[in-house]
Amino acid sequence: MANATGMALRQVRKSFGGHEVIHGIDLDIEAGEFVVFVGPSGCGKSTLLRMIAGLEEVTDGEIEIGGRDVTNLDPSVRGIAMVFQSYALYPHMSVRDNLGFGLKMAHSSKGDIERQVEAAARILKIEALLDRRARPALGGQRQRVAIGRAIVRKPEVFLFDEPLSNLDAELRVSMRIEIARLHRELGNTMVYVTHDQTEAMTLADKIVVLRDGRIEQVGSPREVYEDPANAFVAGFIGSPKMNFLNAVAMPDSTVTVAGARLAPATRARAVGPVTLGLRPEHLVLGPSGDDDLPASAEFTEYLGGTRFLYARLADGQSIVAEHRDGPDVVPGQMVHLRCPKERMRLFAGTGERLR
């Protein structure tokens, strides 16, 4: 793509009144990549995005967009456009004026503004709204206008700050697809902040998992799901959450959990306590045998397409399993859970992944 530009963060830090909240972030973003920052609230993902936008000062470090150091530039000359969670439309202007405001501030000619606004409206299918006031439009339409305002600026990098959080569930899905389509059509570099892992998994070329102002893992959606760097990433990506069971590594490369003996594909480095991670969707209910985890069912959730079973192991640890086929499980019933050994993940007590 012609206007796709890469981006780089070098040891970016942010302190609020002596209290550091972003601790030296290094990140390279390829041209045309869709990068999603994801993490629990307060992890610094929005702050990081606002620093890229220039709305928040960078305490230390450098931000490059397209090979140009923009760390100390005004937001308007960084070659970025931002879409806010609250839309942030100018309520006293028509949709057309909202879209054209950036160009007007840049002293573009009237004809130019008109052309670009029409073009952006066509891409987002909001031509019919152009001469309405920005205020009364529906949530989805308002977010379209906000995205249109970003497109009109012809930025090198699009920044999205939780753009779908204010929409209802149905609209969120359709706008998500819309944003994916937009990325395919425009081919721009996009940075997207969300706490919703579905959005992260479906949209991203590259997911950046953040916690407490540090990067926990960078990778494709498949990498962070299948090959998590640590227990935090493993627990954050995937729904329901991965089961973390206290286990003990034995000398013969097996682990014991609640009296049962399992043989993961990876072996613990040393004998002693470890954490065994099992995803609910990888657990299979089956007949009793010598390689299973016996548990007593506590209650079940029926979701139509699938069912979640909440159970308790012999030593009282709770475990969640997803099952689609087979008869219903009733509370109190004993079940036998199995997991393919290459799906089992081992973590050290510190949360570090054991490979």
Binding site: P75, S76, L89, P91, H92, R149
Partner: protein
């Protein structure tokens, strides 16, 4: 539902709305009566205006004698109206500009002692300004601004500012930060950001500040009386006391009523022009 029940409900609703509107009409009568009284009384003939005030309306046909008579006081009513408009207009202009900038600063910038300074400004509301008239008079005299409309305007602006700054800070607080940030990304900075994006959004606050500044400056009497010594420079309230004091003990009630009307009309016009914003301004931040 039976027809009888429906009719009963209908009747109850009719009585309900009758009471509602009836009370409204009655209440507005109470508020309007003095104005109507003064307005009608100002239209009585010269001789008639000296007679007892009942009935208040002109009995011998309408005449504008009272207004002509009003013009013979001081330097002519036009002159004093102009003085009043100059002072009130200047007060509105300066108050809006200063409180707009101050409100923006207090709402959006972080600086040391911000809250202490804000409280200090608000605290000046507790000082009755009558008690500082003497120092004000001395300061103005030292600045060479005594007996000048500019000096009076500056005094009014000073008195008006605490409330206005408070009002404008609340108005700016109600504007989402994201709108300002979006405008910054769009390339609007400083003055253009304030005028093109923020001003339309704080218009209710500006209208409220403008109305209060205008009304207070227009009606203010004591400071004008003390600070102005030239007959030509009197504002309308000062002229009105001259009219009310009468000549040689005889008070021209017709002229007094005419003066009241002249003083009321601009206030009414300003309020009607801005009341749409004013209502919103007062309610901003009430429900969030």
């Amino acid at each position: 539902m039976s027809a009888a029940a429906k009719a009963r409900r209908h009747r109850r609703r009719l009585w309900g709305s009758l009471g509602y509107h009836g009370f409204g009409v009655l209440a507005s009568l109470f508020f309007l009566a003095p104005f109507v009284w003064a307005g009608l009384a100002s239209l009585r003939h010269g001789t008639e205006s000296q007679s007892p005030p009942l009935p208040p309306w002109p009995t011998n046909g309408i005449s504008f004698d009272a207004y002509a008579m009003l013009d013979t006081f001081g330097a002519g009513v036009w002159r004093h109206t102009f003085n009043s408009l100059l002072v009130s207009g200047g007060t509105v202009f300066l108050t809006v500009i200063v409180s707009l900038l101050a409100g923006y600063g207090f709402s959006r910038y972080r600086f040391p002692l911000k809250n202490a300074l804000f409280v200090l400004i608000i605290a000046t509301l507790m000082i009755p300004f009558q008690s500082i008239l003497t120092p004000l008079f001395i300061i103005l005299a030292k600045l060479g601004l005594n007996n000048s409309l500019l000096g009076l305007t500056l005094v009014y602006v000073t008195l008006q500012l605490p409330f206005s700054v408070f009002m404008m800070r609340n108005a700016f607080d109600a504007v989402p930060r994201e709108i300002e940030e979006a405008a910054r990304i769009d390339g609007a900075r400083d003055f253009r950001l304030l005028v093109r994006v923020l001003l339309p959004l704080v218009m209710p606050g500006v209208a409220t500040v403008a109305i209060f500044a205008f009304l207070n400056a227009w009606n203010e009497f004591l400071a004008a009386l003390i600070l102005l010594s030239d007959n030509d420079k009197y504002t309308l309230p000062v002229l009105m006391t001259a009219v009310r004091a009468g000549r040689l003990g005889a008070i021209n009630w017709g002229a007094v009523q005419a003066g009241v009307m002249v003083m009321t009309i601009p206030c009414l016009l300003i309020f009607l022009a801005l009341q749409r914003y004013y209502m919103r301004g007062l309610m901003a931040g009430a429900v969030k």
